[in-house]
């Protein structure tokens, strides 16, 4: 690995780095060993504590909880993308009566903690007579409002980062404002903002875990339920481990998909994209003229 931060190590430095490396490894291994020994000594790895996870029913429940997490994630992801686009377009609108409310909407929902938002929806709204709020609705609505606002900012930044010529060219060929937005600005902006959008999707996936507090029946909720089964020795630590593996796995899969999509898109960008330098194009025109 080359880095500008340090010279390529010579023989002396190499042995010194090796020393540091061994030291660092020892420290890390020491910490890990301490944790694992603590876990073993307090009996977290005894078969009795893990037995509960061997029952097919429990496994199916965990699977169902994972599906519940994923369905909340998928619904919220789609909705917040839509809300994000609408708000971003609204904020960029030329009409004050559209852009100002959109601005305040985004600022407001970005500042309220997501958990408080979910609680307002789940515990607060029924008290003023709004009926039929299920935990699922509360989780999805909370996630949508919050992440929609965050995504709106991302989209807006993406659109504003485009060269001004794009918009002007669109206007020049006679597209309307909506046409310019839909056909020209938006596709480029969403491509440029893809990394931000993806990392926000990972945030949505992780934040579904907050649904546990408004009693939505997802992975963490089930983990707590199984973790407090006294006849299996309250396996709360094993349950947390199972949940952690599920979440980390899901997030890594999502990140992997994201990388794939990004590769695809950046590839097609090279073929048809806006970043093709101007020189070949002008040569082409001249060639056509001659």
């Amino acid at each position: 690995m080359t880095s500008v931060l340090f010279d390529a190590p010579g023989p002396k430095a190499k042995s010194r780095y090796l020393g540091f490396g061994v030291l660092a490894t020892l420290v890390v291994l020491g910490i890990l060993a301490f944790i694992i020994i603590r876990l073993i000594e307090s009996g977290q790895f005894t078969a009795a504590k893990w037995q509960i996870f061997t029952f097919p029913l429990v496994q199916r429940t965990i699977l169902e909880a994972t599906v519940a997490t994923l369905s909340a994630f998928a619904t919220a992801a789609v909705l917040s993308l839509v809300v994000g686009v609408v708000l971003a377009v609204g904020k960029l609108s030329d009409h004050k009566w559209v852009s100002v409310p959109c601005y305040w909407f985004v600022e407001l929902f970005r500042a309220i903690p997501l958990l408080i938002l979910m609680m307002i929806i789940y515990y607060g709204l029924p008290t003023i007579g709004v009926q039929g709020i299920s935990p699922f609705t509360a989780v999805v609505a909370g996630l949508t409002l919050y992440n929609g606002s965050v995504l709106a900012e991302a989209f807006r930044a993406g659109i504003e980062s485009l060269p001004k010529g794009q918009r002007e060219a669109g206007m020049a060929i006679g597209l309307r404002k909506s046409g310019v937005m839909i056909n020209i600005l938006f596709p480029q902006a969403s491509r440029a903002m893809l990394p931000v959008i993806i990392s926000q999707l990972v945030v949505i996936l992780k934040d579904t875990a907050l649904g546990f507090i408004v009693t939505y029946n997802e992975v963490l909720f089930q983990a707590k339920f199984f973790g407090s089964q006294a006849q299996y020795g309250s396996p709360i630590v094993p349950a947390a481990m199972v949940a952690a593996v599920i979440y980390v796995g899901l997030c890594l899969i999502l990140a992997g998909i994201a990388k794939l999509v990004e590769k695809r898109l950046s590839h097609s960008k090279k073929l048809a994209g806006p970043v093709v330098p101007a020189a070949p194009a002008s040569v082409d025109i001249q060639g056509g003229g001659a």
Partner: protein, 208 residues
């Protein structure tokens, strides 16, 4: 009203202590990830990748409910919440700083090496001070997220702002009003942080 005062006091205590701990730990981890020692790089990467892909709720879940079962010296919920929040936020600080280190022009690090500074000196005297300035906006986003994340601790019975609701509804007061007040105060706190961010941005603007 008393409830609000103690609640937000705890929110602010949680926020400040975790923020400082996360900044320190994040800087260390960020430095580890660019260091010449492969073992340190691997450790930093592993830590960041695992914790960043775990929901904060789960981290706090472990510290609040799992930790007491380990037979270690008992800690109160407040400390547990601070440890969880710091560990979680530190990964974000580390990633932000690493991207900041990348924005510092190559010549700076090269010049530092040319005058014979070691890696530690290069990083702490030349690169990091500049990196910090350029990452102030994302760093404040991380801090704002931390401020909002303190409410998650409420789910694990730290008596802070988010827990006000539970108390209010026990007294039979309308939950909605209490929650809206909590939301409003958070909006104000976040606005305060944004003002602070703008102040630091202007004060430490990188002149290039």
């Amino acid at each position: 009203m008393d409830l609000f005062v103690t609640g937000f006091q705890n929110t602010l205590i949680l926020f400040f202590i975790s923020a400082i701990a996360a900044l320190i730990l994040g800087t260390v981890v960020g430095a580890m990830r660019v260091s010449p020692v492969p073992a340190a790089r691997a450790t930093g990467t592993l830590y960041v990748n695992i914790v960043r892909n775990t929901p904060l709720t789960l981290v706090l879940f472990f510290f609040a409910l799992g930790y007491p079962k380990l037979g270690l010296p008992p800690i109160d919920f407040m400390t547990a919440a601070i440890i969880g929040l710091s560990l979680y936020t530190a990964t974000y600080v580390a990633e932000t700083l690493r991207s900041g280190i990348n924005t510092v022009p190559l010549g700076q690090a090269e010049a530092a090496r040319a005058i014979g500074l070691t890696f530690g000196q290069t990083l702490s005297l030349v690169v990091l001070p500049q990196a910090f300035r350029s990452v102030i906006p994302p760093l404040f986003s991380v801090l704002i997220a931390l401020l909002k994340n303190t409410t998650v601790a409420a789910g694990f019975s730290v008596a802070e702002a988010g827990a006000i609701r539970a108390n209010l509804s026990e007294r039979g007061e309308p939950a909605l009003v209490g929650l809206l007040w909590v939301a409003l105060i958070f909006v104000i706190l976040v606005a305060g942080l944004s003002v602070l961010q703008r102040y630091f941005e202007n004060k430490w603007r990188v002149a290039r």
